[in-house]
Symmetry: C2
Amino acid sequence: MSTLPEQLREMESHHSIFESALRRLPLPVCTVFRSPDQPVPVRFAASDKILRTPDNAIVARSFPLSIEASGNAVLVPTPSDAPPVKGKRVAVLFSGGPAAGGHNVVAGIRRILGDGNTLLGVTPGPKGLIKGAFFEITDDAIASYLNTGGFDFLGTDRTKIKTDAQFRKVKENCVEYGIDAIIIIGGDDSNTNAAILAEYLFKDAKPDGSGVQVIGVPKTIDGDLQVKGFLPISFGFDTATKIYSEMVGNILQDTRSSLKYWHFIKLMGRSASHVTLEVALQTKPAVALVSEEVAEKKQSLSSIVDQIARAVVARARKAMNHGVVLVPEGLIEFIPEIHYLIVELNDVLAHNEKEFSRLHDSARLIFIQNKLSSENARLLASLPDYIVNQLLTDRDSHGNLQVSLIPTEQLLIDMVARYVREIDAGIPFAAQSHFFGYEGRCGAPTRFDAAYTYNLGLTAASLVLDGRTGYMASVTNLTDGGHPIAIPLTGLLQIERRQGQDEFVIRKALVEMNSPAMRYFASRRGDWADDDHFSSPGPRQMWGPAARQQPITVALNSNSDSLEFTIGEAGTEDRGQRTEDRALTAFAS
Amino acid sequence: MSTLPEQLREMESHHSIFESALRRLPLPVCTVFRSPDQPVPVRFAASDKILRTPDNAIVARSFPLSIEASGNAVLVPTPSDAPPVKGKRVAVLFSGGPAAGGHNVVAGIRRILGDGNTLLGVTPGPKGLIKGAFFEITDDAIASYLNTGGFDFLGTDRTKIKTDAQFRKVKENCVEYGIDAIIIIGGDDSNTNAAILAEYLFKDAKPDGSGVQVIGVPKTIDGDLQVKGFLPISFGFDTATKIYSEMVGNILQDTRSSLKYWHFIKLMGRSASHVTLEVALQTKPAVALVSEEVAEKKQSLSSIVDQIARAVVARARKAMNHGVVLVPEGLIEFIPEIHYLIVELNDVLAHNEKEFSRLHDSARLIFIQNKLSSENARLLASLPDYIVNQLLTDRDSHGNLQVSLIPTEQLLIDMVARYVREIDAGIPFAAQSHFFGYEGRCGAPTRFDAAYTYNLGLTAASLVLDGRTGYMASVTNLTDGGHPIAIPLTGLLQIERRQGQDEFVIRKALVEMNSPAMRYFASRRGDWADDDHFSSPGPRQMWGPAARQQPITVALNSNSDSLEFTIGEAGTEDRGQRTEDRALTAFAS
């Protein structure tokens, strides 16, 4: 028997007891893929579901080839006796921030491509596609990444392919490396990029006149890539929200144990508040702000502060000097008065970039103040220095304000403290702030994300073998066995003004006020503010009775009657047992 | 079947799917307690192990009654046919910061006291003991808290019982409520308080001349309450470090996925670096600082920064612009030059409290500078404002600097950035900072902490029924069935200067440079800095193959040959199975 130090050495590099057991977890497949041990590619046919946006006509002019082929119809599986496709060379890449389950997408793709086709990994992300950095993905390599979190198998980056030179470079690399198809695993921006690339590479990409197919896979922990009825959720959302929920649940437990703190917790999610809503439904805190509601109700910053301060005071009068406030990362952009300020700031900064960048910090505020409308100049002047500084800092590569850097949670604490003092100086208000972000992106995927992503991979590769391009893979009917479909990307595109220019975008799915999830939250939050009703989904369980839960928001919005997801096991009485018993031996060569 | 919204209502208030399943997890007991279903109290006898500290003689003068009775001998179980003790009224309280497993200590106590004795909960903490706030703990109440994290069943506070009036009040409450024994669940300070209270209440506490017994239970996530050979670890450490390790593991995974950030992660642990060492052994980051090593090697702040900057540069030269640096919360106090500054500051602040508190912020620095030695005044002046401000802020109720408020991680980032620029301005260095603290204190206890605390509770209650006072409960032999023992608190006491006064303390157990855990870490960290070797224990698993791991530091330091702990199951081939099969029905009335 080896000594403990020897055992510890063997546990390095992703071989902890947990990680080693994780790789052996079985993965269920939608019934249409037939067998978990030997899944088969599915063929697709157009359904009568046609996607459209208000900008359909403009999109049609820019994407004629894609739309002529797809008619913007959603694809559904169809029976086929066609012989297996062979000889395809497929490249896969991660794009944008990591999300749990990416490795299982790659595993699913490899599984469907099988020995007859070649899978190449692009390192890292779109940058690798431009550079031409490919390597062949083997079953052995996949076996060691199966069910693990992160994107470290391939790496990722945020390069947006947009210049003519970049597009040409991608095309040249496809020719040089004999690439027949590219699968882009990414969020809304990356899938928009996939749509543009699909059109660009539709035909004549290679000397023989053939094109290169492009397929997207919906990833983002923010959960803002959703298509009602067709894409229940982007992958990574479930894992991230369960990680945050455990942390929030632990802190809620701490508030009632220590009896002296309010915790203001900012949660990642650049624009939409899906993450915050999900975490609120999982944990039941005293207050959870939903950015979309703030925008809809045109709440001012001071009315939000007032709302929190009232909860603090009401609980204090019941001797509860503790609580938790959840703050969506993007909140500040959704407060109408701040939104207008940011829109004008974005525009002013985009148009005065050079001049602005040459100025010293102290001169920047004055320079900007003079360019702003008087109303916005006044608002900017009223904000604390640390907020102003953030509003004036650099934008990301998409021209967006880096809202994650704005200490909204601290701003709220400072303002709530002042309000509470004004209402009743005798009320104790001690607060701690947190930001949960990075820790949620790369955790080991939940059983839900692990199964969902594997089936997204099976679907994406099936689309490639079926000769499709310009689609995003999806799996619906998550409590009824799972149903792989394909969404025409052009059916999702709209026009949005960014950095002073009109651009095609897949509009982020926001929390809808009349969605079942939001309505359920609204019906319960009053009680949660009045008294402690908190609970926690606990640390993600990979084994045992708590391992098979889909997100609450997804379950509510899809009218499920249970939190339990069932992929590939619909209608089987003993489905839990069967899945556990059947080892996934595919990659354990 | 109920609708999903109805199911969600039922999951409120600690009834998530996870939490409901958690309560049904079986708890093993050390063999000497005989049966997990019907554990029996053990009797104790003095062993030949006598505890002593350098201050033994002084302690003996202040604790004559306790030492006369105990002789500072460690107690071990002894066979006995004595009839069960009945009619005792026992009070239990939490003291200090929460830690996972506290509820199971209470459950273990209740289980041993049985129907023949009464258990009273004190709310909250020592403050409740002074106020006289007691309620009777029923089996039903315990059933709903079994295996859950936090101290919310009773609440906790940090009141230190020290004035004559406070001691008298405690005695009066014992008389009024007929309390025969008090069990204090707390850390080093709380157990010191337990020792003092035990002596004070040793006899003549009640009209009939009898005393009130006081028993301590070792709690603290910091892990700094350890007694070599007699107390392997304080409870809560395993859960906290596994929570932090999952987060750190997720972030390590993110660094290698996103390929662009260094993350500086400060970890809770006021003085000792046990938490950081354990998390480092679990996750294998590029750099992990150990405060005790910094002190031992007399490292200056700039030499620490230099060490990190070298790792950044070396990795950058291998195109690895990412990594993780673990920073123990108490680091800054262990840097000798800063330590001397803080010692003098503590003294100056303690002696000039009133005058200092009347000054404005701007005047405070000048006031302090004039009181300091010229060397320390110079050092203070050289530090950035945000550090100086923290060094001058209020102390906690024990007169300690609130090191958790010092942004050491940001100080290191700022200084490393400067060093790296000086070495090679072309090296990218982008950093994120984190502080993991509160999220680790109240999570659901690991299987290790759940079992350990339950057996600590069985031990503490057995000591009460055996008529003992002034002892701390402990369980040793954690990979060999578990062995309950009792440590005489007076055998741990030493003298320490606090707020300018000599006080009795249980000295915090620090990381020892020649301990097996530290030596193993030192042997591996070079490789971990050179290249990514990280892994993660994963989210705490309550079921399945990864559920039964003790802390790595504890396993190494106790020369275990495995990470698997075995309480109550030594020598049984099918122990895992047996434990799982046997439901704990005790509290499920």
